[in-house]
Every structure is written in structure tokens, then in C-alpha cells.
Amino acid sequence: MHPSSRATSLRSLWVFTVTFSLTQACSDDLPQYTHVENLRVLAIKATPPEVLVDLLANPDNPIGDISTDEVVFEALVLDPRGGEINYTWSFCPVESSTACLDYDERRAAAAPDIQTVLDMLAAPLPTKTAGPSSQTAEFAPTDWWSRRGVWQHAVLPFRFEVNAGLLAYFGGDPSATQSPFDLILGVWPSAILEIEKDGEEALRTQKRINLAIGNPKTAAQGLAGLLPFTVCVDGQFVPDCVALEDRDPNTNPQFVGVQVAQGDSPLAPFDDIEIAPSGDVAGPVLVTRRESVRIKPIFAQELEENREDPIYRYQTLQADIDTEQIIVDTIEEDVSVSWFVSAGTVRDKITWPIWTKTLDTVYTAPNEPPEDADGHVTIWMVARDQRGGLEWMAVEVLIQ
């Protein structure tokens, strides 16, 4: 017998069996992800989510342009218990998948002059306080369920002088073999938001933005030697060149409104689109206790007039497994929606057509209307376009 196959069989079967057994024993005693009960950050939005660098703007610097554009970060922060929070924004100038907790390790890989730049960029902004008494924001207002008042958010200006340094850093890092910049798709620095409440609760969050080279096609000749492949140039035949087009910057998804169907039957028809009057809150939707309704978000890209809009398509680079060649693929955005409620339940944590076929979900009202919210419930929807774009919207529900 193939001894190695024995080991693999034993391991896979044992792991599978045990895992399956354990997953069958999930507990209902733990709080649900979709139920907002304590301090939560439901979303962080970067506007714009992607910033392009013009490689032709400064011929003396093949790395890129110095831009003065800003990226604005906003956070959807909630705590139904009210109270004040202290929050701190900072910038993580290295690619990190651990909320910049590995900053020191990654910084150490950079050249000394780059390290100085990185340290300057990573310095946190001053800590601020938000809450009912704060002038900066009314945190967790008494009618928080309705999302009236100002949701907690903060703005982090982001200057584009950083781009060149970042791109240079990643371009010169020998360990950054998987850097998006090496593959012309950019780099992913992050905004870090730290929240602290009452000296006991603390939460650290991370939101990336995409800094990409916007004009790889027109700047192809300037990229020679910087990339592990050759970008095709119009009118020139180069074997195995990669046909990248100049890039349209990504934008955040746009909610148009929601549709509601009575009951949880998948066959029940949806009502007409309900447009959010203020652009981000729809409703109220009237629901009797223990009743279910289906809620379906509508996005701008779903509208007939936007279906062919190229901003919903983008290029990726892929490796052909058999030939190991780099090929270009054009992908259409597929939006997912995360669901959160203040009371009652939603069937899905995330709706995404590749998993759930449709974007809608079923909301079931609680047995009793929430007394502290005068019967009001808020459903939050957070949309992601899978390349950094994000938007949220709320639906107000009144339990009868």
C-alpha cells in the first residue's frame, strides 16, 4: 500500500469525521453575529476605495505621481447601550492582514530611509471622544434604532505624497513577492480605527484601500524591468505580453433602495422599490410580531441604465495552472450584503448570489416589540463589491 496515501486517508477521514461531529454540536448560547447588542463596528468605508497613480505624470520618477487627492474613511459604529467612546485613527502604511499588528516586523524589512517615512505615516492621530456630550458627534442617541442623529464616523485625510513612498517600498522589498504592486494591481495600505469604552472594552479594526497604477497600458514602456512580465503595447508584437488596459478607479456601491415581500415564502412577490428618503434609511416597514418579511436591496448597477457601465468591470491577473503563464481576466463586480438587526432575526449573515442565489433575506420580527425603542427595529445592510468598495444602508421596521 502506498504508505503516504494511508496517512492521508487516515488524517482526512479522521479530521472530517471529528469536524463534522463537532460542527453538529453548535451551541445556541452564544451571541449572534447579526444581532447588534454591544459595541460594534459594522462597516468602514473609504471614499474613494481605490486611488490610481499616474505613471506618466512624473517622467523622472518611474514609480508614480504625487497626488493631492484625499481618501475619506467613515465608520459605522454602534452601541445600543449608549455611553461615550474614545477613538483613534491611524494609518498603516504597510500591507498587513493583521490590522497592522505586524507593523514592526514588516517595517524592519524596509530600507532605513523608507523606515523613517513609514514611521511618520503610521503615527496615530489624536484620540477623540464621541458620545451624547461630545460636540463632534452624538453617539448612540436614544433613538439609535432609527439611525436618526449622526452615526459615529470619523474622517482621515490621506495625502498622496505617501503613494510614491509606498510603491517604492513595496517595489523594492525582496520579500514582497506577492505584492500587488509587483503585479501592477497596487498596494493595500489600511486605515486602523481603535475604539475604547469605559476602560474595559476595546476594539481594533482595519479597512484597506487600493493604490493601483492607473495607466499600465499607456505607461507600459516605462514599466519595463519593474514588473515580472511585459505589458502589451499597442501596435507592437511582444510574445507573451500581458494585455492590460488602463484602469477605471473603483467606486463604492450605490444603494438605490429596498424591496419588501410579505411573509417568508420565496414565491411571494416583492413590492415596488422603496427609495430611501434620505438616501440611506428606508422605511418604516410595518411588521407584526413574529411575522417574517423578505427584504431585498437594490443597487444602482442593477438598474437597467447602468447594466453596461464599465465601472462595474475590472481586470485581474491570473496564473494558468498548466502553463504557469499570466493571463488577464475581466471580472464583473459581484456585490455581497451583510445583515445586522437590533431586534428579531435575519436568516442570513451574508447574502451573495454565488452562495445564496439572491441578495434578499428573511427578517423575522421578535415576539414582542422592543420597549426601549418604542417598537422600532433597525436592519443594517452593508454591501461590498469584493475589491474594496463598500456602502451601507438601514431599513427602519416598526413592530406592531
Binding site: 451551541s27 491570473q318 495552472i321
Partner: protein, 926 residues
């Protein structure tokens, strides 16, 4: 059919009751002329006859494959005075039979009158035997022999009205009979047939008897030492011949009745051998003998409650090999531990080596489990069937000419039960359904014969495990068809050839096929995934043994294994060179690729068993193995040695050392995911031990061990350059580990005359591992870079204390009862809330950075559990029925197997498995 002579003095060879009981029908021929013993009292040690009663069961041997057969009987001189007085007598002797069939020594155990002792001894000294065989080789043995003195004159005198011998011999045969054991129809040899109170004859080896009696009414009584006395009235009519069949009920359904009370003469110092009959009723194993090894010292408890993983001395399951009749098998259990893949009727014994195993075994760095199949012995059609809530199985064995052929099959029906339940649930319009359908089946077919000096086995077996999860889509959800399919089919041809005296050659060739397939289909999305491997193998082994002298035995062998595997993968492999982090995985974007891999291992091994002193055994060995797999070519030279010194008759010390290497698993060795340059995994085993035979029945085995492991594959972020091209190393061989500890086994052996059997096993150990934490452990994703430095931590299977107590009793009325109690330290784990928790807005999930967390820094709570089992057997003339009730976790201990965390790791709840689980089953045998 001839009539046994009766009344002739001293002619009762109380034939081979125990020989039959012990060795089954195959032994009956031998038993015909041999008064073998109630019990074979241990005795298998060459030229080392014990001197005290405790010493009468000297050390020991693996397996008695042929009992001795008396070929030359010598009558003893009847003491004149006792003959004159008509005194009957009985002398119980121990006879030490040499390996060439002569009598080396005779001891008197008891004598009804001292005057009988000397003539009985004198006569027995002149007996000649066909020698016993142990592991198919002639060997010395001690038997218990009962020599009966019975004067012929006593019969007519003692029983008034009974015909004299002379009168009887003038009559025709008017009464013939057949005596069998109730329940299994085995012939009962040497059963004494008494008519009207007087012993008249005894049954032959086939259980038959003939009696010459005048017509009339008879009171018939049939007796043996091991069966309940059978009494009945018969009438012989005028000019009639009476034919009768009697079924004797064995005095108990003692499961140990067929256990030869021998202690294996161990070359390996850490070997534990278990006989099938000792194992079938151990609680907590669902009647599966193989699972009993989980209760032995050195074997860790499998987390999760199901068992099945072979966690030997703190090492990974993949470090332990499983052999069936010398051939490596990929799977020992269905579904990772539910039940073993071989029907228990095919099992003879199980050898468990928690370390220090000999040069014969390869591909293991921790332990070895070898399962031995039974030599078929069905002189008549035999069968068995078993039904419980999990599966049903059937077994049958038939003689066909010179061949014995046995077959068995089993099928689980959990899928049918689940399907029936789910289908009975009401379903609304548009509502989907979810069906989980695990099932398995297996089969075994074996044919065996003996041709001259060749014992030939042909053994085919196969197993198939499937687990299906079918989600029928609703208007909202999609159709998902998930399937796990594992199958193995093997054919094993074996020839055990006795080349000449003290020289044997065992040749084996074993082709096989194995498949592993994990697939899923998403109909509406036109998407599917598959991970499939078809593996074809052929193994060839030659094992040669030559007892060159009294002090030197040579063992050598070759072990060739060839395999080719076709790997086919259809998977959502993220071919994007860079992909922005997203909340869920896109499985609709699949890629397909295949690989053909081949592997050729060839090993050559040699062992010398040296006995420079009678009490000293030294076994040096060497195994040389070469592996060729994909781009890896490795050679290992592995010296091993054991020394055992029996410095007292009942005490021995032992030491062992061995170097063990195996190639890492394929995924570590393939370009892209692994590194073909990895070194073979290595382990040094150092073992020291002490054995003490406390009483005739109770053994103590104490061992200390230290296993030092190295070259364990661990993730690496390093890159190397080939032709200017950067290649990620993925893994290197920097992983290390060690385990040290002690093991105690206190065991009461199973015997025919004891109604208790059990053991206490205790392991105290510490197991550590050093390697790099993966990116996943640190809170990253698959593919994230691992640590640069290795870190030492308690290994995942480090269980400091493992205590197992097993006891079984044979009770009256066909009842048996047993228990198993386990007390085991919790497994180490890394608390998921120990790191820094953060929320990733792009992935929409809470994650943990564990980079500064000590791995496996905490332990699960102590595990303890009591399992009990009760068997009730009803014995009928032609078959017997056993019903059993097994209760797992009797006192409902909520053992924590894992923790489940809240989404933000702020809260956790313990997950417990296996509440009280009663299992009811039926087993019929004929």
C-alpha cells in the same frame, strides 16, 4: 466405527477436551490420540522447564499453531494391591514434550493414591508425540495429562446388572451416537458415556461413540469436565439400532475459553499482543476487537469521542502504520473510528507496538499495529451474523475439498435511518431539504489450504465509506450535493513454506486499489469541485526465518512497495495573482488539473536473535530502505536492537533502541505546495522496561521511553533560486519533537478456569513539538507567511495521564459483564481569545493575531468516562444467540472536547459529545 475398549485397565485417555476447546475442529484429529490437557499450561519455552508452580507457566510464545499429538502410548503397571482391591485411580501429570516429540520430563501434580504416581510417571516418560508447533515451527511444550487407572473387574462388580466386558463384546452395535457442543456443533471428543451409572465408552475425536447393548431401557449420561452433564433415557428396541445426537452445553460461555494461556516470548520489548477472544466484549468498543488497542498503554485518547486515531506516544496518527498480515493498509476504521474494516470473525490477534519495533516494519516513526487474520478451521459449515443499530454483518466458513473458504460482509444503515426520519418530516411548498447519508460496507473472502509443507492463503478484502450531504434547493437556496468517498480493495496471496526443519519462508504479494474522492456539486450554478485520487499499488514481501542453532536465529526479509496515483482536482483554486480580501470564498470559479505520481519503496531487513545465555536474548537488526517518490530520492539505514534478560524466572529487564524514518506525506513533497528536498522524518526510540510475573495469572509490565523526533516538515517562508527563478520553499525539515514517559500494564490473563479478565493501563508522558506557527495560526489566511523562528510547545496530542481500567466477568446463566473506565488529561489547545482580536472590514469578520501567544498553552478539562456492557447468551443445540447492551458514558459525564467562541471571541461555551449512548445488538453463531 469401533467401540472403545473399556474395562481394560488404565486405558482412559481423557482425550482432548481442551485441545478441541482451545484450537477448534482442526485440533480434533490430534486430540483423538492425545490426552491433552484441560489447559495448555503456558509452557512454551525451549529447554527451560519451570520448577515452581509459579514457574510452571514459563515465558511464552506467540501462537500455538499445532498441538502435540500422542503417537506412542505406553500402559502403566497397575499396582497389584490396588488392582486387587478394585481401586480406581487418577494421576495428573505435567509432561514436558521436546521439540522433536520426545518426553523431556514428567512431574506429578496430583495422584488419587500415591501408589499410582510412580507407574504413571514411568509410563508417560516413554510416550512419543508429534511435537507441538508454535508459529508453525516445532517447539517444546508442557501439557497436563490425566492418567486414569481403572480395573476392568470393577465394572460388573460395581454396577449390578450391567453386562460384563466379555458379554458386551459379543453383542452387535445397537447404540450409536454423536456428541456435539451446543451452539456451535463442534464435536466433543473424550466425552464419557455412562449407561445406567457406569462409564461405558468415550467419544472419539469426531464426537462419535458406539455401544453394544442388549435391547432395553438405558439411563444415559454424558460427562466432560467442561460441559454440563447431559442425562437422558433411551430405549433400544428388539432388533433395532438406536442412533442419538447429544448436545452438551458448555459450563460457561466464557469468552476466554479459547485463550491459550501463554505469554509471548517477545523479541520486541514493547509489544502487546491481544487475542481476539479477549477483545470482543470490551465495553466502549461496540464489540470491535481492533478498537481495544485504544485502551492499551502508549495509546492516546482520540479527541472528539469517536476514537479511531492512532495517537501513539504523543505523536501524530500518520506516524503509526497499520498492517494486516504483514501488508500495510490505509484504513483501519470506518469513518475514522466507528468500527474496524475487518469482520471480527477473521481476526486472530492484534499486535501493538507503541515503540521499539523490529526491523521488519517500516514507514512508521511512532508505533505499529499489526492485525493477524485467523487460520481458517471450518471442518463443517459455520457462520455468524450480527445486528446492531449501526450495521449488520454476516460471516460464513465452509470446507471445499482441501480448502477452507470463508466470507464476510457488512453494511451500515445509518443512512437509511436518517433518510427515513427526514423524509417523514413535513415540508412546506418551496422548502428545501437536507439529507446526511453516511454509510459504509466491507467484505472479506479468504481461502486457505495446506499443500505439503506450504500453507497457502488467498485473502481479498475491501472497504467502502461514503458520506453524502444532499441539500435539495428551495427557491432561495441552491442544490448542493456533497460526497466523500473512500474505498480500498486488496488481494493478498501468501505462502508460508516450511523449507525444512527450523527454516521457513513466507512469501506475500498484494495488489490493491484505493480511491479517495471528495466532491461537491452546485447544480444551478453549474459549479462543482472534486478532489480525487486513484491509487494502484502492489506490495511484495519475503520473510525468512532460520533457527541456525540453539542460540542463533536469523530473520531476514525484503519489502517492496510500488504505487502509482492519479490525482485529479477541480477546485476553486484562487488563480488570481492578487485577490482583494473578501468575506467568503468564490467556489464557482474552479480550475481543473491533474497529476500522475508514482512511488517505489524497497527495503531490506535483517535480524539476528542471539541467546548467549539461556536467560539472555539479544536481537540486533538493520533495515535499509530506499524511497523514490516524485522528485524525492532518499535512502535510510536504520539500526535497531533489543535486549531482554530474564534474571529470575518471573522477572526480566529489557532495553531497546531503534532508528525509524519515513518519507513525509506527499503534499509536503510536491512542487508548488511542498518541497521535494525534504528529508525523511526521523525518530530515535529509547526504551527500558521491567517485567514481573506476579502470579500465575497476573503480569506487570513497566516501561520507560524517550522518543526523539526530527526532520518534521514545517512551513517555511524561505525562497530558493533555480536558474534565476525564485521558488518558494513552502516547507523545510526544521520541525522537531520529543516524548518521554512511562507506561504500566497490570494485566490478569484470560484463562479457561478464571471468570475474570482485565487490565489496568497507565501512561505518564510529556510530548513537545518545535516548529513554525503558520500564517493561519497567527490570524492570517492560508498562504500567509509563517513565523521565521520555530517555537516549542506541547504537542497537540500531549496527554499527561492516561488511565484505563478494563474488567470483565463471566457470570452464571450465560451472562457476562464488563466495564471500562478512562481518565485522561485534556488535550492542549491554544485559547483563541488569548491573542489580539481585531475586526477586518473587508473580510467582515473578527480575526485574531496570535503571533505573541504561546501555542497550546492551556488544556481541556480532564476526561473521564465509564462504559459498561452486559452480554447474555442463549445456547441452543445447533446455534447460539447473544444479545448485548453496551452503555457508553454511564454517568453522563459532560467531557469537554472543544470550545466554541462567539463571533468576537469574547465568550465561549464548551462543546461536549457523546451523552449516554446505549447500544443494543444481537449476534447469532452456528
Amino acid at each position: 466405527m469401533h467401540e472403545q475398549p473399556i474395562g481394560r485397565k488404565n486405558m482412559h485417555c481423557w482425550a482432548a477436551l481442551a485441545a478441541i476447546a482451545t484450537f477448534g475442529p482442526a485440533a480434533t484429529a490430534a486430540a483423538r490420540s492425545l490426552a491433552v490437557p484441560g489447559i495448555l499450561l503456558a509452557a512454551i519455552e525451549e529447554q527451560n522447564v519451570p520448577k515452581t508452580k509459579r514457574e510452571e507457566a514459563p515465558p511464552p510464545v506467540p501462537k500455538l499453531t499445532r498441538p502435540p499429538e500422542l503417537t506412542e502410548f505406553v500402559s502403566a503397571t497397575y499396582p497389584a494391591e490396588l488392582l486387587a482391591s478394585g481401586t480406581r485411580g487418577e494421576v495428573v501429570l505435567y509432561i514436558d514434550i521436546t521439540a522433536d516429540g520426545g518426553v523431556d520430563k514428567v512431574e506429578v501434580v496430583s495422584s488419587s493414591d500415591p501408589a499410582f504416581a510412580a507407574p504413571a510417571m514411568s509410563a508417560a516418560t516413554k510416550f512419543r508425540f508429534i511435537p507441538a508447533e508454535i508459529d508453525f515451527k516445532p517447539a517444546a511444550i508442557r501439557i497436563e495429562y490425566r492418567y486414569v487407572f481403572e480395573p476392568e473387574e470393577i465394572i460388573p462388580d460395581a454396577i449390578a446388572g450391567e453386562p460384563s466386558i466379555l458379554e458386551s463384546e459379543l453383542l452387535p452395535v445397537t447404540f450409536t451416537g454423536l456428541v456435539r457442543e451446543a451452539g456451535n456443533r463442534k464435536p466433543v471428543a473424550a466425552a464419557v458415556i455412562s449407561i445406567n451409572g457406569a462409564p461405558v465408552t468415550e467419544t472419539d475425536a469426531d464426537g462419535r461413540f458406539d455401544i453394544r447393548r442388549a435391547p432395553g431401557k438405558l439411563q444415559v449420561r454424558v460427562t466432560t469436565p467442561y460441559h454440563q452433564t447431559y442425562e437422558t433415557d433411551e430405549v433400544i428396541g428388539q432388533d433395532e439400532q438406536l442412533q442419538a445426537k447429544y448436545y452438551l452445553v458448555i459450563k460457561s460461555t466464557n469468552p476466554f475459553e479459547v485463550v491459550v494461556r501463554t505469554r509471548a516470548e517477545r523479541r520486541e520489548v514493547a509489544k502487546i499482543q491481544l487475542q481476539r477472544q479477549e477483545l470482543e466484549k470490551v465495553p466502549g468498543t461496540f464489540g470491535d476487537p481492533v478498537r481495544v488497542i485504544e485502551n492499551l498503554p502508549g495509546m492516546g485518547r482520540t479527541p472528539g469521542g469517536l476514537g479511531g486515531a492512532l495517537l501513539v506516544r504523543g505523536d501524530r496518527p500518520s506516524s503509526t502504520s497499520v498492517y494486516l498480515d504483514g501488508v500495510d493498509i490505509p484504513l483501519l476504521y470506518h469513518f475514522g473510528g466507528l468500527t474496524s474494516i475487518i469482520n471480527s470473525q477473521f481476526l486472530e490477534s492484534i499486535d501493538f507496538y507503541p515503540g521499539g519495533f523490529g526491523a521488519r516494519y517500516g514507514e512508521a516513526t511512532a508505533g505499529v499495529v499489526e492485525v493477524h487474520s485467523r487460520d481458517l478451521d471450518c471442518n463443517m459449515v459455520r457462520g455468524a451474523a450480527k445486528v446492531d443499530f449501526i450495521d449488520a454483518s454476516a460471516y460464513s466458513c465452509v470446507p471445499v475439498g482441501d480448502w477452507h473458504i470463508a466470507a464476510a460482509a457488512r453494511r451500515s444503515y445509518v443512512d437509511l435511518l436518517i433518510g427515513a426520519v427526514l423524509n417523514s418530516l413535513p415540508r412546506e411548498e418551496g422548502e428545501g431539504s437536507l439529507t446526511a447519508a453516511p454509510y459504509y460496507w466491507d467484505y472479506q473472502i479468504k481461502a486457505a489450504t495446506v499443500i505439503d509443507d506450504h500453507k497457502i492463503d488467498l485473502f481479498a478484502f475491501g472497504t467502502d465509506d461514503q458520506f453524502k450531504v444532499i441539500q435539495t434547493g428551495s427557491a432561495e437556496s441552491i442544490n448542493i450535493n456533497f460526497k466523500l468517498h473512500l474505498g480500498t480493495h486488496r488481494f493478498l496471496a501468501r505462502d508460508r513454506w516450511r523449507l525444512r526443519d527450523k527454516m521457513t519462508l513466507t512469501s506475500q504479494i498484494a495488489p490493491g486499489f484505493q480511491l479517495q474522492n471528495l466532491s461537491s456539486e452546485y447544480a444551478e450554478l453549474d459549479a462543482s469541485t472534486e478532489f480525487g485520487t486513484n491509487i494502484y499499488t502492489i506490495d511484495w514481501r519475503e520473510d525468512f526465518t532460520f533457527e541456525a542453532t540453539d542460540w542463533l536465529t536469523l530473520r531476514a526479509g525484503i519489502d517492496h512497495r510500488f504505487g502509482t496515483a492519479a490525482l485529479n482536482v477541480v477546485a476553486p483554486i484562487p488563480t488570481d495573482l492578487v485577490r482583494f480580501p473578501r468575506p467568503t470564498f468564490d467556489y464557482t470559479n474552479t480550475e481543473e488539473f491533474g497529476r500522475d505520481l508514482s512511488r517505489y519503496n524497497h527495503a531490506y531487513w535483517l535480524e539476528l536473535e542471539l541467546k548467549p545465555l539461556e536467560s539472555l536474548r539479544i536481537v540486533p537488526g538493520l533495515r535499509v530502505e530506499r524511497w523514490d517518490f516524485y522528485k524525492s530520492q532518499k535512502l535510510s539505514i536504520m539500526p535497531r536492537a533489543t535486549v531482554r534478560w530474564q534474571f529470575e524466572e518471573d522477572m526480566a529487564i529489557k532495553v531497546a533502541y531503534g532508528l525509524y524514518e519515513k518519507l513525509p506525506e506527499p503534499n509536503y513533497l510536491i512542487d508548488g505546495t511542498g518541497n521535494p528536498g525534504l528529508a525523511p522524518e526521523r525518530a530515535h526510540h529509547f526504551i527500558g522496561g521491567y517485567e514481573y510475573k506476579i502470579t500465575e495469572l497476573i503480569d506487570l509490565d513497566l516501561q520507560g521511553f524517550y522518543n526523539l523526533r526530527s526532520n518534521i516538515p514545517t512551513q517555511s517562508a524561505a525562497v530558493r533560486y533555480e536558474n534565476g527563478r525564485e521558488i518558494r520553499q513552502n516547507f523545510d525539515s526544521a520541525g522537531e519533537g520529543y516524548t518521554y514517559g512511562m507506561e504500566i500494564l497490570l494485566r490478569q490473563l484470560a484463562t479457561a478456569d478464571s471468570n475474570f479478565y482485565g487490565w489496568i493501563a497507565y501512561t505518564l508522558s510529556k510530548s513537545r513539538r518545535r516548529d513554525r506557527a503558520t500564517g493561519l495560526f497567527q490570524g492570517g489566511s492560508f498562504g500567509d507567511e509563517p513565523d521565521k523562528e520555530t517555537q516549542e510547545y506541547p504537542s497537540n496530542f500531549d496527554q499527561t495521564h492516561i488511565l484505563t481500567v478494563v474488567g470483565q466477568w463471566v457470570l452464571p446463566w450465560g451472562l457476562e459483564a464488563g466495564f471500562r473506565f478512562r481518565l485522561v488529561s485534556g488535550n492542549p489547545y491554544t485559547p483563541r481569545d488569548a491573542g489580539i482580536v481585531y475586526w477586518d472590514a473587508d473580510r467582515d469578520t473578527y480575526r485574531i493575531d496570535n503571533s505573541n501567544v504561546q501555542r497550546n498553552s492551556e488544556r481541556m478539562p480532564m476526561f473521564h468516562q465509564l462504559d459498561v456492557r452486559v452480554d447474555k447468551t442463549w445456547t441452543y443445540d445447533l446455534w447460539k444467540l447473544t444479545a448485548y447492551l453496551e452503555i457508553i458514558n454511564v454517568y453522563y459525564q459532560k467531557n469537554v472536547e472543544q470550545y466554541q467562541y462567539s463571533y468576537d471571541y469574547d465568550k465561549r461555551v464548551p462543546l461536549t459529545l457523546l451523552p449516554i449512548l446505549p447500544v443494543l445488538g444481537l449476534k447469532g453463531e452456528f
